[in-house]
């Protein structure tokens, strides 16, 4: 009976919000040394604090990113309106129009329609701080430049 209780408690624990958010968190972190010395790497090396990482995840959820994108480490429904972001940092271009640098990714997140008037991605009113955190989060969790 103790075992049944233990299983129950374990099942209850998996239902607590946030527990699922850690998956894929450390992917790519071991590839640092192999990278070159471009601008991207310096920005990518700025490690987020735990609270910054949490804020970045919250922002990715609260600006509606997950209604169109699959985001690594952020729980959401299956969404394929835009590209999955699991390789966002690895791609050569941001949204196919800007070179993939941290500054450009941040700019794209803040004003996609200014960068590409034809894009379906709307201006979601992301402020500079959150756009920076989201960029750093993606460089940390979504592949490597």
């Amino acid at each position: 009976m103790n075992r049944a209780l233990a299983i129950l408690l374990a099942a209850a624990a998996t239902m607590l919000p946030g527990c699922g958010a850690e998956e894929g968190a450390d992917e790519g972190a071991t590839m640092d040394a192999a990278s070159g010395s471009s601008r991207q790497d310096r920005a990518a090396d700025v490690e987020l604090t735990d609270s910054e990482r949490d804020r970045a995840r919250l922002a990715l959820d609260s600006y509606g990113c997950t209604s169109c994108h699959l985001v690594p480490g952020v729980v959401g429904k299956e969404a394929f309106v835009g590209p999955p972001l699991d390789e966002a940092a690895s791609r050569v271009y941001v949204a196919g129009v800007l070179l993939n640098t941290p500054d450009n990714m941040q700019r794209w997140i803040m004003e996609p329609q200014e960068v590409d008037p034809l894009t379906a991605m709307p201006d979601l009113g992301v402020g500079e701080r959150d756009a920076r955190l989201i960029t750093q989060y993606l460089y940390e969790h979504a592949g490597r430049p």
Partner: protein, 203 residues
């Protein structure tokens, strides 16, 4: 040898009784565990954070299966494919849908973005769901998602117009959507304008 057989032998009635006690105890413990979980207040009911992955999967599957089943009794009217029907739904879409779901190139309002679950992008719904399902969800709403039932706000004809418009989002670029909005503002959005802006440019 004979003795060992005696020891190992348990009458089937006893086995059955032990099994029944085990099953009953499991359910009692499960109920007690569930009640303790509910009363502890430990589950974060706030809308800031998404459900955990297993809970979201459970809720989403329940929703998807329910929509599949209930939509089966919906009959799609014959006039559904008429461009005039979809064109007539644009006004209602802007009035009642765009705030939470956005549109091609248009962000949802803050109230929509603040919801958990975040309202679905309807271009994806158009691609994945047939008209009967879109109609059923629009008319009946979805419990615990923030999706209202529009049954008492729109009559049946208007609901089908809305459905037709939502289904057309699959083929609509942000530029086409903006152009439709301009045409609507001018009061000139009819079947002919719809054909010109949406259908003639798909090729």
């Amino acid at each position: 040898m004979g003795r060992r057989e005696d020891d190992g032998h348990v009458p089937w009635r006893t086995r059955l009784r032990h099994g029944a006690i085990g099953v009953a105890a499991f359910f009692v413990l499960a109920a007690a565990g569930g009640a303790a979980f509910v009363w502890s207040g430990v589950y974060d009911i706030g809308a800031l954070r998404q459900h955990s992955a297993p809970v979201l999967a459970l809720l989403t599957t329940t929703m998807d299966r329910s929509i599949d089943e209930y939509a089966e009794s919906v009959d799609v009217p014959a006039r559904f494919g008429d461009p005039a029907v979809a064109a007539a739904g644009f006004d209602s879409y802007q009035e009642s849908c765009q705030q939470c779901h956005g549109a091609p190139g248009v962000a949802p309002d803050p109230a929509g973005l603040g919801m958990t679950p975040v309202p679905t992008n309807l271009a994806q719904s158009a691609r994945m769901r047939d008209p009967a399902e879109i109609y059923w969800v629009t008319r009946n709403g979805l419990k615990m998602t923030g999706m209202p039932a529009w049954e008492f706000s729109y009559d049946d004809e208007e609901l089908w117009q809305l459905t037709a418009f939502v289904e057309s989002l699959e083929f609509m670029s942000p530029v086409q959507y903006a152009e439709l909005a301009r045409t609507e503002d001018e009061g000139a959005l009819d079947a002919a304008a719809w054909r010109e802006v949406v259908e003639d440019r798909q090729r």
